[in-house]
Symmetry: D5
Subunit: 122 residues, 10 copies
């Protein structure tokens, strides 16, 4: 079961610089709660670290825990963004989740967090 | 016959966040009212939901109802945008409709809605 | 309703030469007899004419007559090949029918006719 | 001989909305007035209609009338923009004319009209 | 658990013709038996039917049953080919399984069956 | 008016070697005899010279002479091949003529000459 | 030896309009002054003419005069921009010079002129 | 061992102009300090020189000195940027470091320096 | 130091079938013995196993042992093929080694082994 | 002046194996003897060495010696092939010379040598 506690971090060695890290994960898969069929997508995270950076292997394991989880495109995107923001407390972070076609239709969900907006999603 | 009543919605679980959903439908087809010949195009919707998100299967069925409908490129694009805006009441929505070549000429129509402008099209 | 009688021909002006004509039709659409959903595909004909060549506008109209016809991928490919072979009596002809993805799966059917084999399909 | 009188229009059904129409014509050809050699190019029109939209078949015939006309790249681009602006009176229009290589050199000319600037070109 | 009994068929309507069907499944996933990590790949089947064709939805469900199965690249490719050959008894069939990179290395396994060779694999 | 007399040649300096020359002409245009509309295509010549090679500038001028000529795809391809074969007397020559889409349909005609076959086309 | 006197111009027929001309020259070559080895690059000019436009054949000959000239990437880019600005006196001009890889490293130099800045480079 | 003292410079001949130099190095390799495995990436430098430009061969040798150095993606990117800024004192510089996939995940780090911000990274 | 003893194998589970395994390794690097500069390339192995298949992680480590080895393109390709053939004793194996450009020149070496030829290279 | 004496070789270390070496040189340039204008092309050599392999730096210098040489496409291709065959005495060699467009026309010349044919070209 997905749990943000699995996400590990390491200290940002250049906290004074406003730089960005892009992480592309093309092997995301979860299950459609309506049909029980697997969904597949590519997640692209772009963030500016504050005190902490995400450790890549733990991010991979956290994302793999969605493998048999039933969830809609819109919700899984926002939930993963919320989990990473809670753990990393970045200056800003964007998540673009692009799913493979279903019924000839392709869907991409883009959500962003910026510290100043105090945006909490729900 | 196309009817916006066919478009179903579900509740946006993250209404406080200003995020975007892109939906690409490459299998749109209607009929040219002048020649009776079929037209083919790709519709790309990009919107920021307010209270409601569009349900994808109902969107597909709504778009399929244009299959034997006679309509011009410019009109069908604006009409579909109007229908989705009426049903979803999104914060903003853009529709890009890109049609296949006719007589060596390719046409793309782009229309946008933003709540603040109170734009009604006609 | 599809009818091979709609396919018109014109006389091949170079009957002594064994040359080939390739015709690509990316706007083929029919209906799945099981689900009632539209299917979309690209048909590629490659043939060597004997006495007759196919007239392109009549080929387009013949293919458009499948627009609301319910038929499976494998059958529609073989049937269209049979119709063209019956009308054109070519030296040889190949039809490659490549359909858009359904449920994440893409299908292409390839069938060929060669006069010497006397191949009738069924 | 090219004549803007050939360009036909139809009424814009959504005059209140500021939307854009892109028309790509990859089969433009004229003649170089210096060498007598044919030139080839792709014209891309992007405009926001006011009261009128351009009818595509008449646009095609108008562009074909340049087939045996001698004219330089820079002039033909500005002249065609002027003709369309005169007939359509759009809110704004851009024309990008991209010509095939001559002597290893490729040329693209981009001209724009916006109503507020009262730009008349010459 | 994967079971070839899930694969359904329908009668080939053109058994006299030697034609080919290509089916591309880009959403295959199983689990590495050594590391427990998920593997991802694209399976491409190319076959000439004899009496039976494979029904696509049942093929999809059969392939999905490998989702949590631990198996090596080479073995899963040969096993799936064997299962399809056993059920379809085709004239010939090829399976190309192309897996995503691991440790910077990409692997593709290609196996073929032809009736005349009486090839049983093991 | 097209006239094979315009095609100039120069002596092949390496007549003992069986080598090939490919010439791609993407700017071919003629007129459809039925509709009066211009057609556009790419001609690709591949030949093995015997005593003579084609001079490129004269080939260009010869092809330009089709600019206002009414002719069908199949005929113009065979005619140009015949003209070049008559002038160059090559060991072998192939012409692939690929025309731009009309009514959503793309056509390519391929014709070949080989000295040993004594093939005269008509 | 390169000499800006070779660059010829013609009168801009649309001086009142702020439009742009892009000229791509993929066949630039000069010599590295350090190693004596040839360098190869693509020059892309984008400018808005004032009273004068550059004549393309003279531009080609001017650029060819660098063929055996020894010069560094950074200097040749700025020098050519200066020469064209001196001759054309454009409203603004940008030159992007993109050179082929040397030692696995690819270099692109971009320089711009705008009349209002009175920028003279050195 | 990497040492910024290896980076050589030459005088910028056009110090008054604000122009940019892009240098793409696709053959960067270092070693992961955790696993001891080699990492591979493409470094893209984009800078505006002040008094000095970087000499390309010395840049290549400086980058090669990371070949057997153990360092994380985020740190090596910031460190190389700091070294080049210290030696070149440019008006501004950006470094995009794009690494090849590990465990199916691709990482790109982007860091920038601008003189006015006095940004020192750590 | 490269040592074929590092290459591990596992038993081929389908020895009766003549199937192929393609392994692409885009991260190969060694050192030019003449200049001391690093070389980079992509190695593509295509083989038909007999009793043994190569274990991928051990292949990766074997290839990494060339990282600081001085060797020419032609020799390293033949040597790696010989090592794999000695360890795997495959039915047949091909190695395509494609190196990145040096001095504007790109080199690819292709070597093959087939059991029946008894080919030993040297 | 081009001189085959500049081409250096080194001993083939694997003379018993029939393997191939492909060398791509995209920076070839010579001069048209008719117009005096520079020509540009990509030369691709594919050969199977016998006793000798070509040394790459000497090949580059030999090809650079054509920089100011006036020669036609067909002749320069055959001449370079003859020079390399004379120096390397390979088992077989093919040269594909692909030149950039002139007057909208692109030319590629392909010539081959095989030892058994005793082919001398002229």
């Amino acid at each position: 079961m997905p749990d943000r506690g699995r996400i590990e971090t390491f200290d940002n060695q250049y906290p004074a610089r406003d730089y960005t890290i892009e992480i592309v994960c093309p092997e995301f898969t979860s299950v459609c709660p309506k049909t029980g069929q697997p969904d597949f997508g590519t997640l692209t995270f772009t963030y500016t670290p504050a005190a902490k950076c995400v450790e890549l292997k733990s991010l991979k394991l956290y994302l793999q825990s969605f493998r048999n989880e039933g969830t809609f495109y819109e919700n899984v995107t926002n939930r993963i963004l919320d989990d990473l923001v809670a753990v990393l407390e970045p200056r800003r972070m964007r998540l673009v989740a692009s799913f493979t076609p279903r019924g000839g239709i392709t869907t991409t969900v883009t959500a962003e967090f910026a510290r100043s907006t105090g945006d909490s999603g729900r």
